[in-house]
């Protein structure tokens, strides 16, 4: 079977067409030929037998009266049979009375001992022999033997077989032609498809397309192939984009991680030198405290960066765990604002808080604090020193919170992607940061069963709105259902 599989499609088509056309045709021709050849033989046999029977009828008297002249006359009449070579009348004791030999042909061949009764016929390669008993009035007077040549019969059969052979050759040629047409129809187009695939594989060019020439199965194949190329091209573009984003992130991350290190190193070196000179105590408590405060600020910044990176890694691997408990969102918010009071003073920004009553729900306080810090930090960062308004409320089992600044705002086309990893709406050089804050904030809100959105216009500030179910994530209800993984962050 391996050799069959190794054949080309064209060869297989040819073989199948050969079998499909030649086998029935061959069987049909074979049956017809066998029947016709048998009919040819029977034709000769019946013609000769009939002549023998008729001549035998008229030979009884000649045999009865041992009349050789009359017997010869009878035999001479048989000479009109074109195939007759030899004829002989024998009496009942097998003694020849008269015989006829056609001139120029070989004589009688010896015959075996014959049965006394009935006609005897033998057809061999070169001769037909018929021995007809001569009977009159119930008395057997002898027998008439006729020997005919089968040369003409053989010639007729050979001509017939030649005709059959020509038909078979014609059918074979026809099947070859059909196979060639089919090959043009199928394999040529498949090869065109393969050529396109080769270009794609060798040159990595996904922009080539297969030309569709028909609406049949091969046309469908071409369509599918082209669809696949479109999809591959899209994914390749996406992969390249992802690589570009990650490389940019790496450069930003290394820059961000290095930024706090330089002042940190300088402060530590200056303190080390002072300690070495023994002048550390001369600097005064205020200065020392300022230096240590700077060091711890840079350390916090580093710590935040590293935690953010760890959070991203947890979120992407689906390992963000929530520790749910009864939390007052308002209290969390007050703490966060309090924590930022120094930065507010430095930026000259006022955060106004509009709260009516506590908003309590089942949430993870540490994670929510991360979200609040990020939103407030962004508002400070991009708020251009203008006031920031924060509102908290609750309606129909959903807590909501909005943080509004009046800073640079976010262009409409950028609003969708600011929640993606390593994305930001503004340039890196100008603002710094890893671009991870909103991604982490959105992941935390989503893992609580809530959602986050932004309303903004370029240059007109931005409002980030969070909505959280007070019962906590619906898939982690107090009923104690098995905790499921939070939905994918993105």
């Amino acid at each position: 079977m391996r050799s069959w599989e190794a054949l080309s499609l064209r060869s297989k088509l040819t073989v199948l067409l050969f079998i499909g056309l030649l086998v029935p045709m061959g069987t049909g021709l074979g049956i017809v030929a066998a029947r016709d050849i048998r009919a040819f033989r029977e034709d000769l046999i019946s013609t000769t037998s009939l002549a023998a029977a008729v001549a035998g009828e008229y030979s009884a008297a000649a045999l009865a009266f041992q009349d050789e002249v009359a017997a010869l006359q009878t035999l001479a009449r048989l000479a009109s049979l074109p195939e007759l070579e030899f004829a002989e009348l024998q009496d009942a004791r097998s003694r020849p009375l008269a015989s006829y030999q056609r001139p120029g042909v070989p004589g009688a061949i010896p015959l075996p001992a014959l049965p006394a009764e009935g006609r005897w016929v033998r057809l061999d390669a070169d001769h037909l022999n018929v021995v007809q008993p001569v009977i009159h009035g119930g008395v057997r007077y002898g027998s008439l033997r006729l020997q005919a040549s089968t040369v003409a019969l053989q010639a007729r059969i050979n001509a017939y077989l030649l005709g059959i052979l020509l038909v078979a050759v014609g059918v074979a040629g026809l099947s070859l032609g059909l196979a060639f047409l089919l090959q043009r129809l199928i394999t040529w187009r498949i090869l065109a498809l393969a050529e396109v695939a080769r270009v794609v594989a060798e040159k990595g060019d996904y922009s080539v397309r297969v030309r569709k020439t028909s609406d049949d199965e091969l046309g469908f194949l071409a369509d599918t192939f082209n669809t696949m190329l479109v999809e591959v091209e899209r994914r390749q573009r996406e992969a390249q984009e992802a690589i570009r984003v990650r490389e940019e992130f790496l450069s930003v991350a290394s820059h961000e991680l290095r930024t706090p290190l330089t002042p940190l190193k300088l402060e530590v070196q200056s303190l080390t030198r002072a300690a070495a000179r023994g002048t550390l105590s001369d600097q005064g408590t205020g200065l020392l405290q300022r230096d240590l405060g700077l060091i711890s600020k840079q350390l916090r910044r580093l710590e935040t960066l590293i935690y953010n990176l760890l959070d991203v890694s947890r979120i992407t691997s689906g390992k963000l765990q929530l520790d749910l408990e009864e939390v007052d969102l308002v209290a969390l918010l007050r703490e966060a604002v309090q924590r930022l009071s120094e930065e507010c003073r430095a930026a000259g920004t006022v955060i106004s808080l509009e709260v009516e009553q506590p908003v309590v729900g089942r949430w993870d306080p540490a994670r929510l604090d991360q979200v609040l810090s990020n939103l407030l930090g962004n508002a400070l960062k991009y708020g251009a020193g203008r006031p920031i308004e924060v509102e908290v409320g609750q309606r129909q089992g959903t807590a909501w919170l909005s943080v509004r600044d009046h800073g640079v705002g976010i262009a409409e086309e950028d609003q969708a992607r600011i929640f993606d990893r390593f994305e930001r709406a503004v340039s890196v050089r100008h603002y710094g940061g890893l671009g991870l804050g909103l991604y982490i904030a959105q992941s935390i809100v989503l893992s609580h069963g809530g959602h986050i959105r932004v309303e903004s216009q370029q240059g007109a500030g931005a409002t980030f709105i969070i909505e959280l179910p007070v019962e906590g994530p619906p898939w982690e209800s107090p009923g104690g259902l098995e905790p499921a993984a939070p939905p994918p962050a993105h």
Binding site: E57, Y58, A60, A61, A62, A64, F65, Q66, D67, E68, V69, A70, D91, A92, R93, R95, H136, G137, G138, V139, R140
Partner: protein
Amino acid sequence: MRSQSMRRFIPALAAFGLLQGVAWAQASAPAEAELKAEFLERFTRFIDWPEGGFKSPESPFALCLLGQTPLEPYLTRMARTRRIKDRSIQVRMLQGPGEVEGCAMVWIPPEASDSLAQVLERTAGKAILTVGDTAGLAERGAHISMKREGTRLTFDINVAQAKRSGLRFSSQLLQLGHVVGGEVPP
């Protein structure tokens, strides 16, 4: 039926075969007589007698001899061993043409050829086969007359006479013999 006739026929044929080679060449009288007797019997095989030609199904086949003939002993012997038209053979010696009544076949030897006219007169319109071996006998009105042609024994047949008598001659017999007496059957 067939094997019976075969069994009856074979010894006769054996004798006949012997005659062919030896007796004919010598042309001796007894051999010639035996051959002619044999011919008489063979003629009956190729001639059919009309229905009612015999008195009853059991009636013998009356083979009548018009006067003394060398055929007589052979025919007598034949009458013991064979049958003609599935009837027993009865050989009758006739004293004269007046006694032909009741015969199926009349043999007219050369000595009796002068009385042919009387025989024909008596047999006219009756199914009685008249055979002789005198030259020109058939032309003169007998059904068959044997004659010698070289070494062969042949015979003439008067077909017109055969038609008148109601005897049906086989075409094979007509082919074998010489047809005389003018009229050829259609």
